[in-house]
């Protein structure tokens, strides 16, 4: 009797990757379901607006295209964030070369939400998004990955290309900055 390949919600990421390599497209769908929201949230926090779904899609396509090179030293989720971050940086560089079509903003005022969104969301949430928008790009990446995704400093370091120590410093500087803005 053959054990069925686990492709459902209780399978681990590595099990799903193995299942996809064995021919299960359902396994790929489960991985997308599991991680798409986190990737979308990270993209918005880094300033992406209308192209969020396209960015998430490109991230998954790139990830699956190079899964043979995924050695499992970091988690699959961390690896996805690494790929998405590189795609965001590439798009930012490309946008800088076309100043008339800038969609990603790298300055301190990026929030990913419009003024109308702020009104609808409420003043408190708006101030939180302003506080996060005022962080430096690196602080914002580290802060968002730590607070909204719960990544460890090791995972954050792998995703953004820094050290655990630096990630910890960035996080605490960011948290202090957010607290000072909200207390003001």
């Amino acid at each position: 009797m053959n054990d069925p390949v686990r492709t459902g919600g209780d399978a681990s990421d590595l099990e799903l990757i193995a299942a996809w390599k064995a021919g299960s497209q359902q396994a790929a769908t489960t991985l997308v379901e599991r991680h798409a929201a986190s990737l979308a949230r990270f993209a918005v926090s880094c300033g992406a607006r209308e192209e969020v779904e396209e960015l998430v899609q490109d991230t998954f396509v790139r990830a699956f295209a190079s899964l043979d090179g995924f050695r499992g030293e970091s988690s699959f989720r961390t690896w996805l964030f690494t790929i998405e971050r590189r795609l965001l940086l590439d798009r930012r560089r490309a946008e800088r070369r076309r100043p008339a079509r800038v969609e990603l903003r790298d300055d301190s005022t990026v929030t990913g939400f419009s003024a109308l969104d702020e009104m609808v969301a409420g003043e408190a949430e708006g101030r939180i998004r302003q506080a996060i928008g005022r962080l430096t790009p690196t602080q914002r990446e580290v802060f968002v990955l730590r607070v909204t995704e719960g990544l460890s400093y090791k995972e954050i370091a792998d995703a953004v290309g820094t050290t655990e120590g630096a990630a910890r410093v960035h996080f605490h500087n960011a948290l202090r900055s957010v607290k000072e803005w909200l207390d003001a």
């Binding site: 790929a28 379901e33 979308a40 918005v44 899609q57 998954f60 699956f64 408190a124 719960g150």
Partner: protein, 168 residues
Amino acid sequence: MRDCNNVTMRERLPELLHGLLPETERAEVDAHVAACADCRAELALLRRIVDASPAPAVNVAAVAKRIPAHQPASWAARALRSTSLRAAAAVILLAGAVVVSQRGVRIDQPDTVVASAGVASTELSIGALAEISDSDLEALLDELTRLEPVTSTEPEIVVVPAVRGGTE
């Protein structure tokens, strides 16, 4: 808003928020938060930040549709991951770059042109080139294949190190 002096407990608040702590640690941090107003305030702030960061809707089915079925790596792809073959490819690329740049060209014989690479061109170490990523190496190979081939009427180009008194 003040920071709790217990750094160990503060560092665990994001994991507590996301339910990532083992049972015994969770109980320990929960007990500390119950007794520490500063950590309660910080945990509440972290929760508000998460609530203020909704994820835009993503069409999962459409994204999943774009993921192709797994294709086992081709011989070429496996070769690109081989360290020795990457080093060999890096040497070929360096030679190609020198030919294209045509630095310090001198003619030793009527039908032979010796291109001795300038210092700037040869400062790249083979070790550094062998460490370039798969995608960068593929891009460089792609560029090299787009170079126009040298016709048979062109003089033969031989690359030699820029060493005084050196011959081919």
